[in-house]
Amino acid sequence: MLLAPLIATLTRAEGWTGLRPSDGSALWFTLWQAAVSAALSVLLAIPVARALARRRFPGRGAVVLVLGAPFILPTIVAVLGLVAVFGRSGLVADLTGWSPPLYGPQGVILAHVFFNMPLAVRLIVQGWATVPGERLRLAASLGFGPGDTFRVLEWPMLRAVVPGVFLVVFLICTTSFAIALALGGGPRATTVELAIYAAFRFDFDLGRAAALAGMQLAIGVVAATATLRLSLPSGFGAGLDRPVRRWDSQGAILRLQDVACIAAACLFLLTPLTMVLAGGATHLPDIEASVWRAALRSLVIAVGAALATAAVAFPMALAVASGRRWVDVVAVLTITASPLVLGIGTYVLLLPVTNPLVWALPVTAAVNVLLALPFAMRALVPALRDLTADYGRLSASLGLTGAAWLRVVALPRLRGPLGYAMGLTAALSAGDLGVIALFARPEDATLPLKLYQLMGAYRMADAQAAGVLLVVIALGLFWAFERAGRDADAG
């Protein structure tokens, strides 16, 4: 299911001869902006992560929640928010009278930092959590100051963790499409993904689009291979709620520094979103019918993708938990495939059979299921392994197998991770602006695409209203699915 589109893509790539010089600069820009974005994200993340790791304060849980939000926030809403803050008539320009140009490389990088700095913080905080409390106690008994602690304990940890985090962010930034579409473009700021879109959509040059897709795939494979070799803190949530007791950082200046770091990060993350929600809320009554229809389409795609993820990820997780490694490999592979590469591949596959454009909505849902699979597997497989370790023998001795095992044991015990996986898929596919932009006919526009069109027409108030709707759908679905999974544990 995953490999077919990839192979199909490569068969349509008519060598590298179809490529233009501009495609080379797209490759260069993709790598360059990803490196800068990743470096900035990690550099900014380190002080925030350190502050979070060594401070306990009321509202710390809320800060952690805010750091998780960009992951499920629809990209185009964040872009809209960044425009509202940093754009020509945005908040910064209003307050200071100075407006740096947002469109172009700097805008793309700013948006990437917005999305990936929080992810880097979460990963690096987990690194901090691996520094054992006993070690810190020993350091305190030896009279270590903050500088000593950093040199002896924290720096070695960072050296082990940071390269992995950098590569993950780099990988994510190389597949960026929606951000480049909205804030980049032109010869100076076109990513390979955007070039695929342009070749396909404006030049109708499928061979060149496929060759570009092959290029994109190669970047992904190289970066993913490198990522697998480096140590990386596992999971996305574990360890975040456990600040370690510290003795070396109680000075007033250090306190102030940590407070400033956390406040600045929250301000950077929350202001754009607040601008969209505040601006859009007042315009909600004026939303036109076409936006509502787009919202309905997005809702259907999201729920369909969530159900499909459960149907696909559950058997796959079962196969992995019972020891079939290749399934795991497939799940990891999906990380390397970008939405547009999969989209082009699916187009090539469907072309001989039917008009692919008619299938824009199902294809969007399907591609998002594939993209969400690694996360679903990461949630489900450990839970299934625990289930086998704890209750495998009991189930076997009672003759609980097949459907009865599924109903009595597996589904109730795994509702938590399953709900999380479905919520994540729903949020990601509701906010998707990748495949849909590639495929959609005007009458198929989903809410993110509609929002992008409104933005392009400089109807900012309408765009913000659509943004409110999109946030409600994406975050609401995530919350609902996740909640449904958690209730099972409590009841």
Binding site: D390, Y391, R393, L394, A396, S397, L398, G399, L400, T401, A403, A404, V408, V409, P412, R413, A488, D489
Partner: protein
């Protein structure tokens, strides 16, 4: 009769051999030093480890290749005997059926067996709301309800204090006799053996010896048992 005929189990570098018959009725203990393979004997009978050689037959049926759930045995582990997300009644009811909803009659049987093990009124609770002793009782109730002729206990009451453990052993003896079940019980406590088991299987140095009468065994312990019991044994 429960028969292990020329059974060999290999686990890594460890080998266990057993060639023995356990007559039905009463409680038969399995004792031996830790690491001797006591639990492996039970796991071979229950179907959790594969045999390298030999056959296992229970109540006249060769079950060597049968799945754990298809064997005429119930098993109680030291912990994880109950599913935490199901009520006590549902957990016990799994002894009657694993598919579909229980009928009213089945519900009455569950209530009756819960009352028999001293758990009346706890059917709607979750395992987490029960004490360790009560959880053991619920597991026993399910085994009684399942009516498989052999009941295997793998250090089942090992986590309970001495008084509770003796209480459970007495309850086990009574209820198993009433229901016509035979029990095979792995334990490391000689007092448990003397209190409840008519016969004892000694497992030592990779061999499970045929069962002998418990009094006779403790009156004149073989070297392996002496070493396990320590210098003050028998006093």
């Amino acid at each position: 009769m429960l028969t292990l005929a020329d059974v060999t189990v290999r686990l890594g570098g460890f080998t266990l051999r057993a060639d023995l018959d356990v007559p039905p009725g009463g409680i038969t203990a399995v004792i031996g030093p830790s690491g001797s393979g006591k639990s492996t004997v039970l796991n071979a009978i229950a179907g959790f480890v594969a045999l390298s050689a030999g056959r296992v037959s229970i109540a006249g049926r060769d079950v060597t290749d049968a799945a754990p759930g298809a064997r005429p045995v119930s098993i109680i582990f030291q912990d994880q005997n109950l599913f935490p997300h199901l009520t006590v009644a549902r957990n016990v009811g799994l002894g009657l059926r694993t598919r579909g909803r229980p009928t009213p009659e089945e519900r009455d049987s569950v209530d009756a067996v819960l009352a028999r093990v001293g758990l009346e009124g706890t059917g709607d609770r979750r395992p987490a709301d029960l004490s360790g002793g009560q959880q053991s009782r619920a597991a026993l109730a399910r085994a009684l309800l399942r009516r498989r002729p052999w009941l295997l206990l793998d250090e089942a009451f090992g986590a309970l204090g001495p008084a509770l453990r003796h209480e459970m052993l007495d309850l086990l003896s009574e209820t198993a006799a009433e229901a016509g079940l035979s029990a095979l019980m792995v334990t490391h406590d000689p007092n448990d053996v003397r209190r409840a088991a008519g016969r004892t299987i000694l497992v030592a140095d990779g061999v499970a010896h045929p069962p002998v009468r418990t009094e006779a065994l403790f009156a004149d312990p073989p070297e392996a048992l002496k070493a396990y019991l320590g210098p003050r044994a028998g006093t």
